[in-house]
């Protein structure tokens, strides 16, 4: 098998910021003492005058970004998802969301794949928290190509955007000449007729592999990549549900409030469909190597395959 390139989307974030920084002069990057981890360190090196390290104060950082945005600058606030969506939730809600300011939140180290740092740092609630905020766009890219495209799209979008990135290097799956990223547009990666597998973030690749395993059992799964959880591509969700009559969502997030909830909300109103939400089942994570955790929590291809089979049984 050909070696697939693997890149952590947090690295894509840093690289994309540098690329953008070369093109535009109103982009600023803020960090809270984690520039090395969020991979914005390379932006800091390239554009020291446009990098603001706020030190360990996420709440203030979000407010400072809001202040920059009121004067026409486009700030990207960078920290771990736990602190961006968790600790600074109310600052994001009241100082960014309510005044609908043009602040971009680059939240790295989301999900259980943070790994060894354990539950205190494994944010499994950020999608739920962020998509509740009126006017907030929520994007969870699947790989390096998508993450870079998402950063550029976020910059061009007028209004607040939450970008979710991971720590773990994940295979590049979107490296195709015709790849196009559009906020709010889901992507059908594989056509199928027996079940719809709707995934987001690093689970897209795992789901594609699970679909191959299902194919060997004669189960034709449709695989859809939902990189934008808000606004959700409702049309595509309803279309695939109408076609296969069975929907499974897969996310590295709590099954409460994330992609699964968003899809369920749409389907129960527009196209009631038998559903299964795969994710973390109302519990905290734990320490361990990322891949071992994904396996234990049945969020790798094998675990997804197993859970889909149980659902279809």
């Amino acid at each position: 098998m050909a070696e697939t390139k693997a890149v952590a989307t947090r690295a894509s974030y840093g690289n994309a910021l540098v690329e953008l920084g070369n093109k535009v002069d109103n982009l600023y990057v803020l960090d809270a003492d984690l520039a090395a981890a969020t991979q914005t360190g390379i932006f800091k090196k390239a554009f020291p005058e446009r990098h603001i390290d706020c030190g360990i104060q996420e709440c203030n950082m979000v407010g400072v970004a809001a202040g920059l945005a009121t004067t026409g600058k486009v700030p990207f606030v960078s920290t771990f998802a736990m602190f961006a969506a968790g600790r600074a939730y109310e600052q994001v809600r009241n100082s960014v969301g309510y005044p609908h300011l043009n602040v971009k939140i680059g939240a790295t180290h989301a999900g259980i794949s943070v790994g060894e740092d354990g539950a205190s740092h494994q944010c499994l609630e950020d999608i739920a928290l962020m998509r509740e905020i009126p006017g907030m766009v929520v994007i969870n890219p699947a790989d390096d190509v998508e993450a870079r495209a998402a950063v550029e799209a976020a910059y061009k979008h007028e209004g607040p955007v939450y970008l979710r990135f991971g720590r773990l290097a994940v295979p590049v799956i979107n490296d195709t000449p015709d790849y196009k990223f559009e906020i709010g547009k889901g992507v059908t990666l594989k056509e199928g007729s027996d079940v719809s597998l709707i995934a987001t973030g690093l689970e897209v690749n795992e789901t594609l592999q699970a679909a191959e395993m299902l194919e060997k059992d004669g189960i034709h799964a449709e695989v859809i990549n939902i990189h934008t959880i808000k606004p959700l591509d409702e049309e595509l969700v309803v279309k695939t549900a109408s076609k296969t009559k069975k929907v499974v969502t897969i996310e590295e997030h709590s099954v409460i409030g994330g992609l699964g909830s968003a899809v369920a909300e749409v389907l129960c109103e527009q196209c009631p469909t038998k559903m299964k939400r795969i994710g973390v089942y109302d519990r905290f994570g734990e320490s361990g190597p990322a891949k071992e955790l994904l396996h234990k929590y049945e969020l790798d291809a094998e675990g997804i395959y197993k859970q889909v089979k149980e659902f279809l049984a």
Binding site: N60, G63, G67, L68, T71, S95
Partner: protein
């Protein structure tokens, strides 16, 4: 403007606060009244603004970090000409542009939404930093309550502004001594306030009477002339100032005057204006 003219406007602002909260049957008169002079001074004397062009790019900015005292800000904006004074009576009504707490999107002249205590000072620091980053010469003012500075985020922002020497930032603390649950030094004392800001690398101006225009003028002049550090103006004021039965009464933090109380307040303020 003469001191007397400013005093007349401050009295108008006070009447606007009473009109608004009376019409709304709720709201926060106490801390609005204690800051009537500072609202007046900022909008009629200190700040580079243009009511006809509220979004003027090089304008000075004001963030009402103690957002619950919006009735005072709205009254100052109305008398300055941002919108009709009549609008003040629509405070907190459905469909009004005068929300319970300041809202950027709704009200002409409001530079930032606020209301959740502790957040405004960070935004003000961000605005001040923004000017520094691109060599713009506007100044940024933010008003905080003395109870508000119990919030941790205030000190995150203070550390940030002090470290970055944001000398275009002026933080004003309205030290009226009272918060909802009682005197600030009985609830969770923020004292010593001036020393705290000094420790965070601020230049501090202590104002013995923040309801006196001469003292405010001197303080803002000193702030403007201070280079290399942000300034904190810590001003002693009287909560409920100008309405006899509200002065220094903790109960008037967040309660509106009824019809009878409204008449008394307006009569007192009219007399003050004619005196």
């Amino acid at each position: 403007m003469t001191k007397q003219e400013l005093q007349q406007i401050a009295t108008d602002v006070r009447m606007g606060i009473i009109e608004g909260t009376h019409a709304a049957k709720c709201g926060h008169p106490g801390g609005s009244l204690s800051a009537a002079e500072v609202f007046t001074y900022l909008y009629f004397e200190e700040m580079n603004i243009d009511p006809k062009n509220p979004q003027k790019e090089d304008r000075d900015r004001f963030v009402l970090s103690k957002g619950h005292t919006a009735p005072g800000l709205y009254a100052a904006l109305a008398y300055r000409g941002y919108f009709p004074v009549e609008d003040l009576k629509t405070l907190r009504h459905v469909g009004s542009h005068l929300q319970g707490h300041p809202c950027l999107a709704h009200t002409p002249g409001v530079d930032m939404s606020s209301g959740s205590l502790g957040q405004g000072i960070s935004v003000a620091a961000g605005m001040a930093l923004s000017a520094k980053l691109t060599n713009d010469d506007y100044r940024v003012y933010t008003l905080l309550g003395d109870g508000e500075i119990e919030e941790g985020q205030v000190w995150e922002a203070a550390m940030f502004a002090g470290f970055r020497k944001l000398d275009n930032l002026c933080v004003i603390v309205d030290n009226n001594g009272l918060q909802i649950d009682g005197p600030v030094d009985e609830v969770n004392s923020p004292y010593p306030i001036a020393d705290k800001f000094r420790a965070f690398n601020f230049h501090v101006v202590e104002v013995a009477d923040g309801n006196d225009f001469d003292q405010l003028a001197a303080a803002f002049k000193e702030a403007r002339e201070t280079k290399g550090a942000p300034t904190a103006i810590v001003m002693k004021t009287v909560k409920g100032k100008g309405v006899s039965y509200m002065e220094n009464q903790v109960g008037w933090h967040g309660k509106a005057p009824n019809d009878e109380e409204y008449e008394i307040a307006m009569k007192e303020l009219k007399e003050a204006k004619e005196a």
